[in-house]
C-alpha cells in the first residue's frame, strides 16, 4: 500500500464514493475515488481502474476527467491532467483510464496502488456522437489516441453499428485497445511501423477498400496528425463525415480560462475553440492539424 490518502484542506468539498451527491442537478463533480487496480499493460502503458461515486459513471464515450495527479518526485504537480475515459464499467461502478507514463502527471499516476485515493473531476467536454443513418464506421488511431477511441467500440455496439478499427503502432507490443475492440466484435486491422504497414499510403489503400465495401459511413480518429489529415482528405473526397478527438494543454476544464484553444476552420474562417468545452471531440472537417 502506497497509502496515498487525501486529507488536504483543498479538497473538503470533493465527493467520496459513499457520499450523497450534494449537487445532483449539476453534471460535473469533483470526486475522491479509490484505486482498484493500476497495472502495466506493456513497457509504456498502464491501465488504472477506479472505484467511483455513481455520478462519475455518467461519463460518455469521448468525454474526459481532469485528474489531480500525485507527485512523482516530491515537488508539486500544479495543474490537473485531462484524460479521456477508456472504459466505464457500470456493473462494478468503475471508471478506467489507459495511459502512457510519459510526463510528470502520468508518472505520478503510475505510483498509485490499490486502495489509494485519487481526486478526479468530471465528466467534462463533448464526446463522440453517432447518427442513426451510420451503419458502419471506421476508427483509425495511433498510440495513446487509441485509448480515447476505445469507448466508441461499446457505443457503436450498443447501437448496432459495425466497426472497423485500424490500430496503428510502432510495434506489435504497443497496439493499444486491441482487446477492448475485439470484445465488441470490431473488425481489427493492425498497421505497424516495424513492417511498414503503418505508412500513410497503405492506410489510405485500406480505407479506400473499406469505402468500396460500404463499411465507411463515418470516420473517427485520434492521436496522429498525419492520420487526421488523411481521413479528413478522404472524407472530403468521398463525402464521408468524421470526428476527431483533440488534445491541448489545459487548465480549468470548464471553458473559463481559454488556455486550451485550438484553431479550426469553418466556412473558410479561422476560429479558436476550447478543447475542454467545444471539444475534445470535434467535427473532422473543421479541424486543422497541428
Amino acid at each position: 500500500m502506497a497509502g496515498h490518502v487525501i486529507e488536504d484542506s483543498y479538497s473538503t468539498a470533493a465527493i467520496r464514493i459513499e457520499d450523497q451527491d450534494p449537487e445532483p442537478s449539476r453534471p460535473v463533480g469533483e470526486f475522491i475515488c479509490n484505486v482498484a487496480t493500476n497495472d502495466w499493460v506493456n513497457d509504456e502503458y498502464k491501465l488504472i481502474s477506479l472505484d467511483v461515486h455513481e455520478k462519475a459513471l455518467t461519463a460518455a464515450a469521448g468525454q474526459f476527467f481532469h485528474l489531480l495527479c500525485p507527485s512523482p518526485d516530491g515537488a508539486e504537480v500544479w495543474m490537473r491532467r485531462p484524460m479521456s475515459v477508456y472504459r466505464v464499467d457500470k456493473q462494478n461502478r468503475r471508471v478506467e483510464f489507459l495511459y502512457k507514463c510519459e510526463g510528470r502527471g502520468t508518472k505520478g499516476m503510475s505510483t498509485l496502488e490499490a486502495g489509494d485515493e485519487f481526486n478526479i473531476s468530471g465528466p467534462l467536454g463533448i464526446g463522440f456522437w453517432l447518427k442513426p443513418e451510420w451503419k458502419n464506421i471506421v476508427v483509425l488511431g495511433r498510440g495513446v489516441g487509441l485509448a480515447t477511441l476505445a469507448p466508441l467500440s461499446q457505443l457503436a455496439s450498443d447501437q448496432g453499428v459495425g466497426i472497423t478499427a485500424i490500430l496503428s503502432a510502432r510495434n506489435p507490443d504497443v497496439v493499444m485497445s486491441r482487446d477492448l475492440f475485439q470484445s465488441y466484435n470490431a473488425d481489427i486491422i493492425e498497421v505497424l511501423d516495424t513492417d511498414g504497414s503503418s505508412e500513410v499510403s497503405n492506410v489510405e489503400r485500406i480505407i479506400q477498400s473499406l469505402i468500396g465495401e460500404g463499411k465507411a459511413d463515418a470516420f473517427f480518429t485520434c492521436g496522429s496528425n498525419r492520420l487526421l489529415n488523411l481521413m479528413k482528405q478522404m472524407g472530403k473526397k468521398h463525402g464521408i463525415p468524421g470526428q476527431v478527438a483533440m488534445e491541448q494543454i489545459m487548465v480549468c476544464g470548464f471553458g473559463a480560462c481559454y488556455v486550451c484553444v485550438r484553431t479550426f476552420e469553418i466556412d473558410g474562417d479561422r476560429v479558436l475553440k476550447r478543447v475542454c468545452r467545444e471539444g475534445p471531440v470535434f467535427n473532422m472537417e473543421e479541424a486543422v492539424g497541428w
Binding site: R26, R80, N119, F254, A256, Y258, R262
Partner: protein
C-alpha cells in the same frame, strides 16, 4: 450564525469570496452553485473581438504556473447580448472586468458597460504583458490617475481598479487610483514572468512573457494589501494565492474587505464554495459573529526592541 456579508462602498456582498477575473465563467455552474458566491466576475472584455495570444498559453514551474492568454473575446456587443444574460441567471452582483490599451476607447467601453445588469465595472489596468502606456497603466501613478479619472467620468457604476504587483511603489499607485475616483482597488494582478525551455532554448509560452499564479506569491500580495490598507481609505479586494479559508482570513486581517480566487478553482473546481463553508466554520469556531470584523484586524503592535526581545525568558 455568522454574518459573512461585507461592504465594498455602497455595494453589499453576501460573503467576501469572489472569483478572480479570467479564472472564472458562468460555466462553473456545471459543478457549483454560483448563487453562493460573493460576486460573479466576468473575464476581462475588450471593445473589439480579439483572438488572444498564441499557444501554449500556460506552463508549469517549480512553484506555480505562468500564463498568457491575451484577453481573447468576441467584443462588447457579443458580451452584452450573449454573455451578460448567462450571468443574470444568477443572483450575486455582476462585476465586469474590462480593458483597453487606449484611454479614450477604455472610457467608451466603460460607458457601454454601464447598464442596469452590471453592478461593478472593474478596470483591468494591469495586464502584465502590456506596457505602461498600452494597457498596463498601473505601473505608473500618473498613468493610473489619468486613466482612472477618465473612466470615473464615463460611469456612475462602482469602479474598481485592478492593480499590478509589478509596480515599484504600489502604495502610490493605489493612492493615485483613489484620488482619481476609484471606489475600490483589487490587489493584485499576476506577476510578470518568463520561463525558458532548456530542451529547445525557446520561451515556454507562445507569448514569451506570462503572468505568474501561485500560492507562493500569497505572502508578497498580503504584504502589498497590508501596506496599501495603511494609506488608502477605499476598500481593497485581495487577490493572490488563496487556496483555503484561512488565506481569506489572512487577507482580511491585512486589510482586504473581500478576496478574489483564481488558482484554487483550477486545482479544485469545488473550492470556491467549499472555502465559503470553511470560512463560516472558522468564524463560528472562533466566536466571530461578523466576518467584516476581521478587516484590518491584524495585531501588529509588535515589540520592536530587539534587545528586550532577545533577553526575554525562554
Amino acid at each position: 450564525m455568522v454574518d459573512l456579508s461585507v461592504k465594498i462602498g455602497d455595494l453589499t456582498l453576501q460573503n467576501p469570496v469572489t472569483p478572480a477575473s479570467g479564472a472564472f465563467s458562468w460555466e462553473y455552474a456545471d459543478i457549483i452553485d454560483l448563487n453562493r458566491l460573493g460576486g460573479l466576475v466576468a473575464k476581462t472584455i475588450c471593445r473589439e473581438p480579439r483572438f488572444g495570444n498564441p499557444t501554449p498559453r500556460m506552463a508549469e514551474t517549480e512553484a506555480g504556473i505562468i500564463q498568457s492568454i491575451g484577453l481573447p473575446g468576441k467584443g462588447i456587443n457579443y458580451f452584452l447580448e450573449n454573455i451578460v444574460p448567462e450571468y443574470k441567471k444568477f443572483t450575486p452582483p455582476l462585476i465586469v472586468s474590462c480593458s483597453s490599451e487606449d484611454p479614450e476607447e477604455f472610457a467608451v467601453l466603460t460607458k457601454e458597460l454601464s447598464i442596469p445588469e452590471v453592478d461593478v465595472v472593474e478596470c483591468n489596468i494591469s495586464c502584465p504583458t502590456r506596457n505602461t502606456t498600452g494597457g498596463n497603466f498601473s505601473l505608473n501613478s500618473e498613468h493610473t490617475k489619468s486613466v482612472v479619472g477618465k473612466l470615473r467620468e464615463a460611469t456612475d457604476k462602482p469602479l474598481w481598479a485592478k492593480l499590478s504587483p509589478n509596480a515599484g511603489d504600489l502604495v502610490s499607485i493605489a493612492l493615485a487610483a483613489e484620488e482619481a475616483g476609484a471606489d475600490a482597488v483589487c490587489i493584485a494582478n499576476t506577476f510578470l514572468s518568463l520561463k525558458i525551455r532548456t530542451d529547445n532554448f525557446k520561451p515556454a509560452l507562445g507569448n514569451k512573457y506570462g503572468g505568474m499564479v501561485s500560492p507562493a506569491l500569497k505572502p508578497i500580495v498580503v504584504r502589498m494589501v497590508y501596506q496599501c490598507a495603511k494609506e488608502v481609505k477605499i476598500p481593497i479586494i485581495g487577490i493572490g494565492g488563496i487556496t483555503k479559508a484561512e488565506d481569506v482570513v489572512e487577507y482580511m486581517l491585512a486589510g482586504a474587505s473581500a478576496v478574489g480566487i483564481g488558482y484554487a478553482g483550477f486545482r479544485n473546481p469545488s473550492a470556491l464554495t467549499s472555502i465559503i463553508d470553511d470560512l463560516e466554520a472558522w468564524c463560528d469556531s472562533r466566536g466571530i459573529e461578523r466576518v467584516s470584523d476581521l478587516i484590518g484586524a491584524v495585531d501588529d503592535d509588535m515589540e520592536m526592541d530587539t534587545l528586550n526581545a532577545a533577553s526575554a525568558g525562554v
